[in-house]
């Protein structure tokens, strides 16, 4: 970080360092930061006390507000992960992730955008069933993206009829495809129904951290699944896919021409040769009906 160019920048950096520092387990502002800096001294240096509150106590109000707001948003975005890990492990993950990856967006919608990549570097936070937890994170982020990503104009029937093996078919920006080791879709549907919708921005303060009901999922047997996470009539849906459908959509999303995408998807398929034309006709008709092909 460069030297402060102004008094304003200096104060904002110093206050942000205190406000964004993790709370203690008792949800108070720590007197000393992890790097050894004294919050007491910093507060006294920049904040005026009044007749009721010390400088430290005034700064602590903001430290708590910061974390309460982020906790609320993160918990609403990842209720499935919370159900798998349980409250204590989820809290530890949330605190560590948000400390390492503070928001870099004007929108809280993007708070969890780096979670999957961060967990690749910190698998110790995934609990005793890391693949189950990791699958849930991928599905929950795909859900967030499918919820409000762009919907482009549908490809017309005429345009679709004119495609050939060299054509590149574009798919809707809201469409995500996932290969998962656990059937986490049913679990997430249950958890989201219990807990309601995702967070939105407000400009009010919270008196305390909002505690959500957490249903701990003790066990879920592994069963490989493929899913399309998509949007239909502005609701998010999880559509089961066959391995061939998953392969075909993945190749199209990667920009492969249609002929190459089909070859890749069916290369190791047990589907008999004589059934492949009917299979392709059916899946393309379904996807066209769902509006997945776009201009």
């Amino acid at each position: 970080m460069s030297e402060p160019a102004s008094q304003l920048l200096d104060i904002q950096r110093r206050m942000a360092a205190a406000v964004m520092h993790p709370l203690t387990r008792g949800e108070t502002m720590p007197r000393r930061r992890r790097d050894g800096a004294s919050n007491l001294r910093e507060a006294d240096a920049i904040i005026r006390p009044n007749d009721r509150l010390t400088s430290f106590e005034r700064l602590e109000i903001y430290n708590r507000q910061y974390w309460y707001r982020l906790y609320t948003c993160f918990e609403e975005d990842f209720p499935g992960l919370q159900a798998i890990l349980g409250r204590a492990k989820f809290d530890a993950l949330m605190r560590a992730y948000l400390t390492d990856c503070p928001s870099e967006s004007f929108s809280l919608r993007n708070l969890g955008s780096r979670l999957e990549a961060w967990l690749d570097r910190h698998p110790e936070h995934l609990g005793p069933k890391p693949i189950l937890a990791s699958d849930m994170v991928r599905l929950e982020w795909a859900h967030i993206e499918a919820f409000d990503s762009e919907e482009r104009p549908r490809l017309s029937a005429e345009a679709l009829a004119a495609v050939d093996e060299n054509s590149s078919l574009r798919l809707q920006p809201y469409l995500r495809v996932l290969a998962l080791s656990y059937p986490v879709d049913d679990l997430l549907l249950q958890v989201r129904t219990e807990n309601g919708s995702s967070a939105s921005s407000t400009n009010n303060a919270s008196t305390s951290r909002k505690r959500r009901h957490v249903r701990h999922v003790a066990a879920l047997a592994p069963r490989p699944i493929h899913l399309a996470v998509h949007r239909h009539e502005n609701s998010v849906w999880y559509k089961p896919l066959s391995p061939e459908e998953f392969g075909l959509l993945s190749a199209l999303l990667a920009g492969k021409p249609l002929g190459d995408a089909i070859d890749l998807a069916l290369a190791n398929s047990p589907l008999p040769e004589d059934q492949r034309p009917a299979f392709l006709q059916e899946v393309f008709a379904t996807w066209a009906m769902l509006g997945w092909f776009t201009t």
Partner: protein, 304 residues
């Protein structure tokens, strides 16, 4: 005065914040509401249900945009991506004015998502006013800035909050969203007279007023927006209307949100003040608004 260049010469009445728990009620029952205020950031997305609902609301209601993360007071430069998305939304809503807060909340590209208090310094005046001008120029719509509730003050401050607000809006040549609940909360937290604040702001720049509820703790007040408006805040509102005239007013209710009808009924209490001021005209507004306040704040029979 209420319809002025800072609110696009509009003459809005009493609105409420558009919140998710009320979507179904509004879209199915079409209640009569003067206008809705939306949190801009909740609709600065590329598609999906938020925009579908917004478009349905826009078909029937007037909508004004209120932002929570432009952070005029941050030393960081403005985000181009944020500005582009904001302007895109402005074109969709045709908001007659655009509001955000007189605060900071991001530094070195990291966002706190909170409304952090400004150090009231001349440097901060310059930085903040310049950024307001940039937003106004880019979005091509009048920008109004809202005073925030605060819980801390800085040693380096060189002026009062209302002096800071006045300096900023004069230099930016922008309007004010006067939040009388925030003034009340800050007055208790920092021990100043809230009426001094209301009496000091340039009334001709007030484009909109916010009212809301707050929570009282042993040593400070917190701006929670989870209660009805308290009598002390209504008194401050009455004084603001005396000074500014019948100004577009918005009730904020963001937590423990009751039914739509309860929120709307609370907001409509402001109508008494606005009507009194409008009917009395500028010369008699004071007496008329005070009379309206009396009927609202004193239970029947208590005035004797």
């Amino acid at each position: 005065m209420p319809a002025n260049r800072f609110n696009g010469f509009s003459d809005y009445g009493v609105g409420i914040g558009l919140r998710i728990p009320h979507y179904q009620h509004i879209l199915s029952r079409h209640p009569v509401v003067d206008w809705f205020e939306i949190i801009s950031e909740n609709y600065m997305v590329d598609g999906g249900r938020p925009l579908e609902v917004l478009d349905q609301i826009l078909e029937q209601y007037k909508v004004v945009q209120h932002g929570v993360s432009m952070y005029f007071g941050s030393a960081d430069p403005l985000s181009r991506e944020h500005l582009k998305r904001l302007k895109h939304l402005v074109r969709r809503t045709h908001t007659p004015w655009l509001s955000d807060h007189l605060c900071w909340g991001s530094v070195d590209g990291r966002y706190t998502h909170d409304l952090l208090p400004m150090p009231y310094t001349w440097e901060a005046v310059e930085v903040t006013a310049q950024k307001i001008r940039q937003v106004q120029d880019f979005t091509e719509v009048p920008v109004v800035v809202e005073n925030v509730s605060s819980y801390a003050e800085f040693h380096v401050s060189e002026m009062t909050e209302w002096e800071f607000l006045t300096e900023v809006v004069e230099r930016a040549d922008c309007g004010i969203l006067l939040d009388v609940n925030n003034i009340y909360v800050s007055s208790k937290n920092h021990s100043f007279d809230p009426f001094t604040y209301v009496n000091s702001v340039p009334a001709h720049r007030v484009a909109q007023i916010h009212i809301a509820g707050h929570s009282k703790f042993e040593k400070y007040l917190l701006d929670t927006h989870d209660h009805p408006v308290l009598p002390a805040v209504w008194r401050l509102y009455a004084r603001a209307i005396e000074r500014c005239g019948p100004t577009a007013t918005l009730l904020e209710w963001d937590d423990n949100i009751p039914t739509f009808d309860e929120v709307h009924a609370e907001a409509l209490k402001a109508t008494k003040f606005l009507k009194a001021a409008a009917e009395a005209g500028p010369n008699a507004a004071t007496a008329a608004v005070q009379a309206a306040a009396k009927t609202l704040l004193e239970p029947a029979g208590a005035a004797r």
